[in-house]
Amino acid sequence: MCAKPIKKEPREVETTGHQWDGIEELNNPMPRWWVWTFYATIVWGIGSSDLYPAWPLITQATPGLLGFSTRANAAAEIASWDARNAAIKERLVAADLNAIGADADLAGFAERAGAAVFRTNCATCHGSGAAGVVGKGYPNLLDDDWLWGGTMEDIHLTITHGIRNTTDPDARYSEMPKFGVDELLEPAQIGQVAEYVLAMSGQDHDAAAAAEGATLFAENCGACHMEDGAGDPTQGAPQLNDAIWLYGGSREAIIETITYARFGVMPNWNKRLSEDEIRAVAFYVHGRGGGE
């Protein structure tokens, strides 16, 4: 098919004998081991695709003789980390809640583990930075205002059983009356109470209406929110004389709250999380700047 290869003088490069317009095609042969290496890679490829998952089929790839699976490897790695963390998790469960921070090892573990638990489970409502959604009823966990108490015990209890849910009989529970819907107060009275709440929190208000509202507040609201509006964390009654508003602190928002009431729900986590995870995330939340 091709012209005869032509050997030249010693020290000159061999040609294949091909010639176009006087230009010769040189032949610089590759070393023989190079082609062996190439064959070796083919053999390796065949062996490797027999032993490991390789050829894509319709629903999955061929499994391979070694039964290798990245999913199984991940599970094994998780199990090995669980085994390595077993001792410190035991210590975390056994420790006094308020003593976790003093133990550098426990605190370091709880902080990291808690951050992971928080991002996976809590961030959906409370935000990845734990700042909640202000005015929409998802509490900010970074501030110094706690609806159900901000000590380690309180936070631990809240996470374990949740709030106002129907799945845990031990859930923390309270219910605000629907003053407007159930006609416990006239719309005008609701307006007066709202003026008083505005006055308590130092906002612009109608002084005359607020004075009327003070009496109504003491009669209808004081039992839970306290007469001075300090709130009661044992029954989840928010503090009203401060600058933090779960559902908004404007006149309209306050009237809406009194008329329709609010009913914030949090799931109980004792079914989803283990005790060490609950303790870790409680420690994490407690250390975000508002812990009491």
């Binding site: 010693p10 000159e12 032949n27 590759m30 921070g101 700042a131 900010n140 205002d145 700047g289």
Partner: protein, 472 residues
Amino acid sequence: MTQQDADPSSLYAVREPVFPRRVKGKFRTLKWWLLGLMLGIYYITPWIRWDRGPNLPDQAVLLDISGRRFFFFMVEIWPHEFYFVAGLLIMAGLGLFLFTSAAGRVWCGYACPQTVWTDLFILVERWVEGDRNARIRLHRQPWNWEKLIKNGVKWWIWLLIGLATGGAWVFYFTDAPTLLHDLVTFQAHPAAYITMLILTFTTFFFGGFAREQICIYACPWPRIQAAMMDEDTLTIGYREWRGEPRGKQTVEGNGDCIDCMACVNVCPMGIDIRDGQQLACITCGLCIDACNDVMDRIGKPRDLIGYLALTDETRERAGEPAKSVWSHVFRVRTVLYTVLWAGVGIGLVVALFLRSPIDVSVTPVRNPTFVTLSDGSIRNAYDLRLRNMQGADAEFTINVTSAARVETGLEGIDGLTVTVPANQTMSQRVYLTAAAGSEAATADRTDVRIWIEQLGTTNRVHHDTIFNGKEN
């Protein structure tokens, strides 16, 4: 490198074995000294001790991967100071540019590990099997006891050298005496054994069998170097205008080359330098030694083969003398490389002396940018990473200066003092709070400067950042 016996139509050729002959001369002597020096540095360095006090390793050069620290005599590099390593790599790169533009492939010929270990392996080969002719005879004879024993002895010595090479490598990564003890008592980490095994066999294979094939087929460096050489770069060349026509000296009109093949026989790459400068030439200088030896014996001037540049060729062909070596080495280009190289080096040394023994990074928490507290005050959070690069515990106080008044507080700590253990990094959250309605609380942003001072010392660093007020 012609293929006399191969099937001419084949695209592949069997490697022709190279049997370099022994040679004496100034380049060979220089190469022996460099070989001893470089192998000495490589094998001995991990065993040099350097006292750093109680909590730190006493190995002079140590790459502590698990501890994320690099020790080099009095210098200690932390992960955040990796720019030192980047700087050293830039210096290494510029150094290669400098040497290549001045003297061609000196790296390949004298300093490359492939060259140095191959040289050592060829030396072993010569001790066991004899010089070139004896080796060729042994290579051609059929397998018998003599061939088996000589090859066996040679391979065992190569393997031992390979083992020492791989062994020395792992000593750089952990305390050498401890590791040696663990290695011989079979208690060392599997990673150490696996690394040694791999390096033993790569050394054995690359130095013993692959040799010049690595330079010709595997190494990218010969290809890159051509781009850094110019007509003034010194390379090894054959003075063809003086040597040709080659042949017997008794024949009238012949050049100085007597075609004795000494230059070819000593070449570790198996090439003929008389074909001109070529990719396979690593400029090791051994052909110069071999040719000068022959020229001395036949009473002709030396340097028929020698270091010369392209410009010299033109000059010499025209009958002018070649330029001096120094005028090749000191050129604008090489001086510029030297200045750049020295500039980076001086910069690194200055950076080394100016660096503070403490290091702080401040990350403002941006999720959320601020928190409203129950009394209406506005709080910002900042994550501090405090690094104590000293052998003793250190107490740091944190202070803040700002354009408008803010109060400082620490998460989980009363007061403003943090203790960071020796040689450790610690995270600490810092809170700045502006009173309700104050200037900082209502401004969109306020410049703040966080000061970190080590108690009882003059170590003080600061970090500028922003305080975010409530947007209203």
